[in-house]
């Protein structure tokens, strides 16, 4: 390819190496375009002139590193985001989950937790929550704190309600969240079935024996190589016959694990791990 290498790319590589060496966070497999953009936005908001400068600062100052980490994570999410996807889960996937005596679900890259709470509400409505365990993980500790607390801004409720209705949800979403002092508090009884945990998809291990893994809008931030590694991790974590859901514009088509999975639903990128493929 003849395209010019951006002048700052060596500096960015040095920065990423320093972050791995000093703090154990490895961003070298992230897709460069959005990573660069976030690094530069961070530099603007912290008045840092150069990437080299940023590197020196984070090497000396752990708090400065924590700030950078926060800028690099994009914990953008929504309750029942993509309602038709949740409708599909409700109508097609829950009846299948109901055939298991115990149900294990992993939300990888859960951000502030809305997707996991949505899942818990759906399972509760279907009478399945009592035998379900949801693991919801992210590497962004601040987002996880919000997720665990289960308290969100009230103005969000309109969007939530709309998404919930569009996803075919019956009854009222406010049965599951209580308005208090301008905020929404998720029902505590749901929480007993959700474990929010810090987990880094780049460096941490697989989770065992999942019936269902959801990793939506996380792989878009990774290069193809890292996507392949993470998809491998999911393959190890899913029971034979279990399901993997990616984001609607993500695909497994280019990946090395594609042969181990079969597509179940094309539009919403739902795949099933073929039976003979578990270790």
């Amino acid at each position: 390819m003849t395209s010019p290498v951006p002048r700052s790319s060596q500096d960015v590589n040095n920065l990423l190496e320093a972050m791995t060496a000093q703090y154990g966070y490895d961003f070298s497999g992230y897709a460069p375009a959005s990573l660069n953009r976030r690094i530069h936005r961070h530099m603007q908001s912290f008045n840092i002139e150069s990437v080299e400068n940023l590197k020196q600062i984070i090497l000396k100052d752990e708090q400065a590193f924590a700030d950078l980490l926060r800028s690099l994570s994009v914990p953008v999410t929504e309750m029942f985001r993509d309602p038709p996807f949740f409708k599909y889960l409700r109508e097609q996937v829950l009846p299948w989950l109901a055939t298991f005596p115990f149900i294990k679900i992993w939300h990888a890259g859960c951000a502030t937790g809305e997707e996991a709470w949505s899942m818990a509400i759906m399972l509760h409505k279907a009478g399945l929550l009592s035998r379900s365990q949801i693991y919801a993980t992210d590497y962004n500790e601040e987002a996880l704190t919000t997720a665990r607390r289960g308290i969100y801004d009230s103005p969000l409720l309109d969007t939530w309600q709309r998404n919930f209705k569009e996803s075919g949800g019956e009854g009222d979403l406010s049965d599951y969240c209580f308005q208090r002092y301008g905020s929404l508090r998720m029902d505590r009884t749901l929480q007993q079935h959700i474990t929010f945990a810090n987990h880094n998809l780049v460096t941490d291990h697989a989770f065992g024996e999942m019936n269902l893994v959801l990793c939506r809008n996380v792989l878009i931030y990774f290069s193809r190589d890292l996507q392949n590694r993470v998809l491998d991790l999911f393959k190890e974590s899913i029971l034979p016959g279990g399901l993997l859901c990616l984001g609607p514009r993500e695909t497994m088509r280019f990946s090395s694990v594609a042969d181990s999975f079969e597509p179940v639903e094309h539009e919403w990128k739902i795949y099933r791990l073929k039976q003979g493929f578990q270790l």
């Binding site: 390819m1 003849t2 395209s3 010019p4 290498v5 951006p6 790319s9 897709a31 460069p32 375009a33 959005s34 660069n36 953009r37 976030r38 994009v74 953008v76 809008n217 792989l219 878009i220 931030y221 290069s223 193809r224 996507q227 984001g247 609607p248 514009r249 993500e250 695909t251 088509r253 280019f254």
Partner: protein, 186 residues
């Protein structure tokens, strides 16, 4: 490797129709398109364009490679970015000036990845999104042309994207098409 990036907003569907329907099926430069969506489905927009151009039009899929003869459209609610290796990435980073997809995000990534190999067109729109990205492309040595604000359905966006560059960079739609063809044949 060359690349065309196009941004359009309010009034953009008709402008895009005029612009893109004149391109031949063997147009040799890949095109990336950000069109602000009012709401909902980008599939509608793709279908609409599909019937109006001989080029292949589709919504971007993460990490696909750009190809001659294709128009890759940013999906609703995702930013579209160009990588140095000629693949595209999506992101759901915060909207930029209320827009996601945003012209600025695409243009800045294109400037960084492809530098002076970029041709950028900014069409009708009511937003100032695209102005900074267009400046980044000019700085990287790429070319930016804007739809003539006088004839654009909404002049704000092309006017903002023009920045300090002169009258030679303001063109009617048919001249913009000519620029595209020239760029491909250069």
């Amino acid at each position: 490797m060359k690349i065309v990036v196009i941004g359009a907003s309010a009034g953009g569907s008709r402008a895009l129709e005029t612009l893109l329907s004149c391109l031949p099926a063997d147009f040799s430069v890949p095109i990336l398109l950000v069109k602000h969506h009012d709401s909902g489905s980008g599939t509608d927009m793709v279908k609409w364009l599909h019937n109006r151009t001989t080029l292949d039009v589709h919504l971007a899929e993460d990490k696909e490679h750009i190809q001659a003869g294709s128009i890759i459209v940013a999906p609703p609610s995702y930013h579209l970015l160009l990588e140095t290796d000629g693949s595209v990435s999506l992101s759901i980073d915060e909207p930029v000036m209320h827009a996601r997809p945003s012209l600025d995000v695409l243009f800045e990534s294109a400037a960084l990845a492809f530098g002076d190999e970029v041709l950028c067109l900014v069409l009708t729109g009511a937003s100032r999104d695209g102005a900074e990205g267009a400046e980044a492309i000019r700085k990287a040595g790429g070319k930016v042309y804007v739809q003539d604000p006088e004839t654009a359905e909404v002049p704000v966006m092309p006017r903002a994207a023009l920045g300090k560059s002169g009258a030679g960079f303001v063109l009617g739609l048919s001249d913009l098409t000519k620029k595209l063809l020239e760029f491909a044949n250069e």
